[in-house]
Symmetry: C3
Subunit: 425 residues, 3 copies
């Protein structure tokens, strides 16, 4: 194939699939805003558009270079900003040097940056969902800077950046561990430090269900995520300049869809005997868990494996939701079950479907990413707790963050039921 | 053009336009969830994510092969699963056989599968909308298996699969009849067996309007469908590897948009004198009807015809809504008028705009697809009715499926008006 | 590169990015519908699907030719409809003339039409938002015809069509002034003629805040717009057939995202000391303002400039919102601050980042577009006011347009708080 055609196709694929991944930010926002109580639905909107904005600028400022520029085993280069090459600048300014540009790289420098940037936002979105309804906004935004400028780029340097895990042969095609695991571990650390919402876990060991503000909005969020996941997994082929790349993209699309579908059906199937009814939230979380599970290896050629991997992801997620309730960890949207637990499963499952993967190396990747992200996140949340405070005051939590922190309500004209606290009941 | 470039472009087009068609599943969900009464808005979400998941797995398991593999007039091959070719597998596993792969096919095998799979989900979504607010969830899911694994693939084998209708010259570019007609006939059979919602048709012949839970959500659904329709119609060019294909895609995009727009304006225009006011639901259904109508022939080169075809589609839909009310058929979202009636019009209209089409063959296609789909759907619904029951109990219907079957409400914190039954009024 | 490959890539880019711009219509609808009081949320839906439909047909009928066909300084040709070339028609009908088609143009004729058409709809959407909650629907639709068939095409003829401003060297890559400025000036003229909503500005000089019907829906709208903006700005490269074009698209994607992110953070930062709290609406308007500001020059190669331009856009927008309140101009969604003011800034800022741009020519462009669009829009609104009336009656405004004009409510089953008029309070 003509190298310039290859260059154009690779670049276009990064941009288009990357735009779809950006759209996932809307999915996370809707999922989270619909899942929380009405009194907190607006602050979620601010939190999510804020985190997406912070992630983009932090990754531009230092994150990308830490992750990809001159990675030496553990970490890349600490340097500001990221730019097209001099040859590329010359070309767009009118020079006749396309051949030189194309010889230099297979794609436009900044198209890859764009694709990588939307991934870091996903990791931050996962943290947001788990911590909804009580996290201090300032603390969350500061943590987002930490996560997107430093923590995620270091994990990325180990793996996609070519660092030590990559050298050992760790495989994570689109980031079951690198993205979803990182987000999940950071979320777990956050919920452990910040603590459960008031009244969530009763003294008698039972769990208080909190009403979602809008079930259709949650569902919309999941559909947005599913749609965007095609960008996430298919785009992670990272190239479109050959028949092999195009076939790889096709396989990623097919496996992604089969795994999501299987996650839905498996989660419905296992939740039903427990609850004795259909469980919509199991289905929705099952979709995400199936999608997360396939994310580590959506390039497999035996597509029925995608069904198995997605289905197990759905089951793992339903079980993990129960587990977190039992150990009294309050993760509002089920982010840890769907992203972390299903992501661990998916990362290990690559050893089943990809003969080049080694299960011990996969496990080493899971454990080392987990140990690193969890510990630096835990420390960060502890530091935030002891300085500016990691959670809002009881008064704000009771009143709702919308009114207390934004001065608005999500649905100001609608008459709402008064919330029944256990102590009042 | 270099055959490998052609292969890549064809494949990429399938994947990208296919992802847009997947997004239509969200559109159907929002349209239906916003259209029903609040007490049923959550179960619609489960029904739709469930049907999308079932459709994908059923089509993978046997549907695609029935539709496309070795079709002999009536039906393809009954065999499990679908896979890339051995040469493709070898290529993605590292062999240097791109030339052989490209010589074998014009596109990645699984990219076509992906594009076809999202179409079958659309047919199932149409059934869902018509049957909202009273269909038994189990019955609906079982019917979805029947529709997506067997019924739709057989219709597809007759036509796109190269079977008897294709041999006669039947033309249906993106599926006004094959997809929307199939969904519409199955929906019509369903509503006839399942029956109208309680109290919908009063003894005095008048019709009780049921309040939509959220008008903006319905509107969002229609916009999602319109956006996704570019995938549906433009992608149905099925190739991007030549200037002619690119031009065909451009024409499909232009005609699709003009027809949708004309459907909106025509529906508003005809609904206004009847109601003496602007009618938003006519506009929204008119958009869908215009889009359905153009779907059989969006490749025409005289684009003003798209305006006419879309406008007539909008008028047909408004008239059919009235007709269904008169004959006391309860189709909650107007799926039969918008998809079936406008689809019939669109299929016949191909004979006007495409000199290669024969109106009698088009009519034969409409009638034979209708006779087949309606009868096997009617039988299936009857069978479901007499075994597990096709509709929920009166108690569940009165209470709402959300609380009765899912144990949740769509908007639990909001205060709702008590529903006024006629007997109570 | 093979010219046929170039033709295909250029065409595909127009179609795909154009479809994303179409999706912005949904974003404007959600933003506006969520921002207004519940009593007007449905009529917004009708207004927006109506304007999108009118814009598409008006631009097909005469707008495109006025803008692009044989432009002589001020205006193009007045002729009906727009069509593919005879050679293109021959090709899709089976002729073997691909080489001739490709030699004639770099892209399919109608793919460019499609991409331009979705832009005109954006301009009309901007007007809609500013005038919400009191504009007469008929008047708005008639104005939309005027704007999309005549006014916007004339501005376009001056610039993108190659007319006098283009000849002077005016630069506006994706339309900060040509699209957003035109929409903004037309909106400003509209709000000045139509006047503020009842009770919006109190006699004592204070401003009555009106409650948004749904904050999550507004947020969804902004995310849709951000996503669609990749189509808007990246697609405005207008070609994908070379490495230079691909790089240009990559830069547009990166700068667009950085500017939107910076707009969010800057708007939060400046709004906070004023309000002493986080301001979600500042963040959301800041996103749009940042995106509008970068739209005139998203092709710059020093990406940190995108952060500065977006941030200033966000600040300009927050300040302009205060200004409009002070001069008692009632723009419901902040369309004039976000689209017009940030658009002026962005158009001028091109002189900073692009050495080929001249700040005086940029200013001339801003002023001449403003003078033209404002005056012909003002006249049109005045004419509408004196003939059919530009706003609804007090009774309709008080009751809400949904019930009065559509006969439906947006959320009929929900119990709403009675609106407190000042006189009643």
């Amino acid at each position: 194939m003509n190298p310039e055609v290859e260059f154009v196709l690779n670049t276009f694929a990064f941009l288009l699939w990357g735009a779809l991944v950006m759209w996932m930010a809307a999915g996370f926002t809707m999922l989270e805003s619909g899942s929380v109580r009405t009194k907190n639905a607006s602050v979620i909107c601010l939190k999510n558009i804020g985190l997406y904005s912070i992630a983009g600028i932090a990754f531009y400022t230092i994150g990308y270079n830490l992750m990809y520029t001159d990675v030496q085993g553990l970490i890349g280069k600490l340097s500001l900003f990221y730019s097209p090459s001099a040859e590329e600048v010359a070309l767009v300014e009118g020079a006749d040097n396309a051949a030189a540009v194309v010889a230099q790289h297979d794609y436009a420098t900044m198209s890859d940056w764009f694709f990588q940037m939307v991934f870091v936002a996903t990791a931050a979105s996962i943290v947001s969902g788990a911590l909804a309804e009580r996290v201090n906004l300032w603390a969350f935004f500061i943590f987002t800077v930490w996560l997107t400028a430093i923590v995620y780029p270091i994990v990325g340097a180990w793996t996609w950046g070519g660092g030590w895990l990559a050298e050992l042969g760790f495989m994570d095609f689109a980031g079951s561990s690198i993205v979803h695991g990182t987000g999940g571990w950071a979320a777990l650390a956050g919920v452990m430090v910040v603590g459960a919402r008031m009244g969530k876990f009763r003294a008698d060991g039972t769990v208080k269900e909190t009403p979602p503000s809008s079930v259709p909005v949650v569902t919309l969020g999941v559909f947005i995520l599913w749609f965007g996941w095609f960008g996430f997994n298919v785009g992670s082929q990272l190239a479109l300049g050959s028949a092999g790349d195009a076939i790889g993209m096709a396989h990623a699309a097919v496996n992604t869809n089969l795994a999501g579908a299987a996650g839905v059906l498996a989660a419905i199937a296992v939740a039903r005997p427990i609850l004795r009814r259909f469980d919509l939230f199991a289905a929705l979380n099952g979709a995400i868990a199936g999608l997360v599970a396939i994310t580590a290896g959506p390039d497999m050629v035996n597509h029925y494996w995608a069904i198995i991997i997605g289905a197990v992801g759905g089951v793992v997620c339903v079980a993990a939701i129960r587990l977190l309730d039992m150990i009294r960890v309050d993760d509002v949207v089920g982010a840890v079950p769907a992203h972390l637990f299903a992501g661990i499963w998916g990362t290990l499952a690559v050893a089943i479907t990809n003969p080049e993967a080694d299960v011990w190396i996969q496990l080493l990747g899971v454990v080392s990413i987990g140990a690193f992200v969890f510990s630096v996140s835990f420390l960060a949340w502890k530091l935030l707790e002891t300085t500016i405070g990691a959670r809002v005051s009881d008064r704000v939590e009771r009143l709702g963050q919308d009114v207390a922190e934004l001065g608005i309500e999500a649905y100001p004209e609608f008459v709402l039921m008064p919330e029944m606290d256990d102590e009042e009941a």
